[in-house]
Each structure stands twice: as C-alpha cells, then as structure tokens.
Symmetry: C2
Subunit: 272 residues, 2 copies
C-alpha cells in the first residue's frame, strides 16, 4: 500500500521499517508486535507519515507515555519553530546541560567578513563554532553544501583569530534532520563535528535529549495549540520546567482548565 | 504609487530609478523622457515589475528594437530555464566566444569528495572551476553562502590536484542575478571571480552578452511560447543562430506561420 512521505513523494508502506522504528524508540517486542498490527490494520491508501505517526503515538501512549514521547520526539522538535520557540535556544540549553558555556547569535570577526554565529559554545578552553540547520517540515536531509558553507565561514573566523589567541576552535553543524552521505563524508574528512537525528551513532541529538530527559514541551500529547503558545510566551521549553508549577499555578499563571492542567502534570511526572 | 516587486514586497514607484534603467540600457535622452512619461501615465497601483517592463519594452521597441532587447535581456535570461534551455549551456557558450574551452557537468575528484562542476573552463593554461547560481524568478540576490560553499568545494578540489599538477586554478561564481554586498566582499577578499548582473562593473554578464551580440532567443519579442519551445527542441539558443535559416526554412523546419517567421527574421537582423 502506498503512503505519502513528508517530501511529497509516495512510497510503499514498509512494514519492517515501521516496526523497526518502534523498536528504535525502545518499545519491547510485545508492544512492537501489538502496535504494528493495530496500525497496519487501520492503514488507508495515501495516508501521510504524520497521520500514521499520530495513530502510532495514540496506541503507544496507552502502553507507556515515555515510549510515546520518544517516538514523537522528532516531530516535537519540528513543532518547536511553529510553536514559537527558537531551535538555537533549545540546542544551546541542551549543550549547557552537557557542560558547555553558550552564546546565541554572537557576531565574530573573520578575516574577510563578520559572521553571526548561531551558537558559540565553550568547554575546557575549546571554542565550538556551531552552525544550525533547522527544518520544521519532514522530508529534508542536511546536505554537504551546509557543511561546506560552515567550513568556509569557520576558516574565515579562525584566520582572524589564530593570530592572537591559542584557543582551539572546532566547527560544528547541528540539525534536527538526518545528514546526507556526502555531508557525513566531507565532515569526517575535514574534522567538522556533526550532530543531528541518529547521528553520530553514539551521542546523537535524540540521545542527548533522552539522556537527560530534555524533552521539549511540544512532545506532551496533552498540550494543544493554546498550551504550546502559553509555554512559548513564558519561554518554558523543557517538559521538566513544568515541575516547578503546582496544579493551581498552572491554572492561575497560564489559564488552563483544571483537568487539562492535571493531564499536563501527570504526563510531566511520567516523562522526567 | 506602490508597485509590486518580484520578491513579493511592495515599494513606492521610483521615477528616477525607472528612468535610469532606460538610460542604463542605452536609451538616448529623448527616448528616456518619452518612455518615462508614457509608462508613468499608464501606471496602475500595485502593478508588478513584470507588467511595467512589458509596457516599457513595447514603447522601446517602437523606437529601437535593439534597445528593447537590451532592456529585456535580464528577463529573457530568466526565461531560459522555463523555456527549456539550460543556463550552464548558455554561460558555457558565452565563455567559448571569449576564448575559453569549456566542459559542462564534469566530475572532479577532490580531497574528501568528488564534485560535479557546473562548468570547467580553460584558457591559457588556467583552470576555471565555475559554480552557477541560476534564478528564474525576480527578487533574488546571490548571497555569500554560495560564494563560501563554492570556495570550500574549490579548496577540496585543489587540495587533490595541487599534488600532481602545476596548473593554476581559479574559483568562479556565475549568476544571472546581482550579488549581495557580503558576497562581493568575501569573493574579493578570497580571490573568487564573480560574474553576474551588473557585476563586475567592467565585464558583467550583460556586457559580455552585448559585446558579442549573444542575445538568447527568449529576448525576441515576436517569439511566443510555441516558438521558444521549438527553438529549445533544436537547441537553438542565440538569436544569431537564426541567421542560418531562410524564411522558408523557418516555416518548414519549425512549422511557423509565414508572417511570424518574417517578424522573427526581421527582429534577428536588427539584433545581430
């Protein structure tokens, strides 16, 4: 049966790939088998990847909320932008949790030009010059052109800085998507650090997030559009930031209905 | 009065800028004054740049067909793509007229990756590695990211080639649009050759075209869609390529109506 990918192309539904995606999110065999069967039974021709994911998440949430969140994480990150959050702030916050000092949107003088750096991160006397590539729709991979552009910018900056300081500089490209093969080949060859979806194998973006429960609020299945907007206004980015609020705080501060506030908190306690 | 730019923004109609564009195309003062007044009188609110250009070209063509062609050249190049021509073939053909040997779409091995080079041009033992950036809609400028990406690719190629050959290599970016200021600053600083609309001041794309009458067939005001498609099928790219055909050739080979064939040839004789 044909399904509709985020890129607009159709492809044949691949049962094995779908079941594997459940296993990747950490579902035990019993749940994989169950959800695989349930979703496949309900599959309609030309269903979109998003529709299939919604169904899957609903079934997963019945089994295990954390599992559902991990499965939804990729889409949740894609919703950050439309929900009013900045991806660079989210990534900077993640890096800080891993011991980096960060600055967002700094201007750095280069040899030819001044450059606005998405994130300048520092750890153990090494400067990490980080270029972000954020997509808020499915179906994109971050290509070698981004790695090359970032490298040329990195060269321009280090050409101006090497003269007067001894700090080591490292170029990064961070994305919420996958990288193309050539992007990976080029970056590996030129010592550019890549961080993205399922890359690198150890220490990928989703692993960094899961490792310290840094789920974005957009992952909460009980958070509707209004909730996400309220959170964005208060710059409340991580699910765990909700822990500081009591049930009545959520009702007073954000104007949430008691039952909604209750569901949000229940989910929060499960996830973090 | 507000007019609609190609980028989708509106801006106030700038009479001086408009009259200057006529002068830039080479119109004598008498014609500039006349056409300026005529077009301004007919201007309607929110007219698009394209509509204004159409009117202008109609008035200019009454005065001088060559003038009208020069005025239309920018749009004519933007029509190459939609009309079925490849911009890289057009640019390569122009370069050949200026003494370069050219290859389109060659693969070159780099240090990290193999790269598909839009045009590889050679002249006096120098290799020119040319990256093209083609826009078939108005309202774009070619940005510094393109220059940087091209430079990183150039570095990767020369890193692999320097080892075993002595030829000089030069990086180029060629576009049918203007360049942003930072693209120009960066390219000048890194010795990247830029060729685009109104750049460089001496030897810009339109000057190279006009200098040897290399007008594309899309500039012909009597060429409708059908004509352009027929030309594209025969890979007939320059107006002057039409010189090899007689009136009856055009009727037989392309199936044009005698009066259309006649108009096309009249225009051709004026332009080349």
């Amino acid at each position: 049966m044909d399904i509709l990918k985020g890129s607009g192309e159709t492809e044949t539904f691949d049962r094995d790939k779908f079941c594997r995606s459940l296993r990747l999110a950490g579902a035990p065999d019993r749940v994989v088998r169950k959800v695989c069967v349930l979703v496949e039974q309900e599959l309609r021709p030309n269903a979109s990847t998003e529709q299939i994911e919604k169904k899957t998440v609903r079934y997963l949430a019945k089994e295990d909320l954390l599992l559902a969140a991990r499965y939804r994480l990729r889409s949740a990150i894609m919703e950050l932008g439309p929900a009013g959050f900045f991806f660079e702030e989210y990534v900077a916050a993640i890096l800080r949790e891993y011991g980096y000092k960060t600055q967002v949107g700094t201007i750095m003088k280069g040899h030819c030009l001044s450059h606005e750096i998405d994130i300048l991160a520092e750890k153990e006397n090494v400067h990490h010059i980080i270029e972000l590539k954020y997509h808020n729709r499915r179906g994109f991979k971050t290509d070698v052109q981004v790695a090359m552009y970032s490298y040329a910018r990195f060269l321009d900056i280090t050409a101006a800085h090497k003269k007067f300081e001894e700090k080591k500089h490292v170029a990064w490209v961070v994305t919420n998507t996958k990288f193309t093969k050539s992007a990976i080949t080029y970056a590996t060859c030129m010592n550019i650090q890549l961080l993205g979806w399922q890359y690198p194998k150890s220490g990928s973006l989703e692993q960094l997030i899961e490792g310290k429960s840094l789920y974005p609020v957009t992952v909460l299945s009980s958070a509707n559009r209004f909730v996400k907007e309220q959170f964005a206004k208060q710059n409340l980015m991580f699910v765990r930031d909700l822990l500081q609020y009591s049930l009545s705080d959520l009702q007073k501060k954000f104007g949430f209905h008691p039952s909604l506030a209750n569901r949000l908190l229940q989910e929060t306690y499960t996830l973090v």
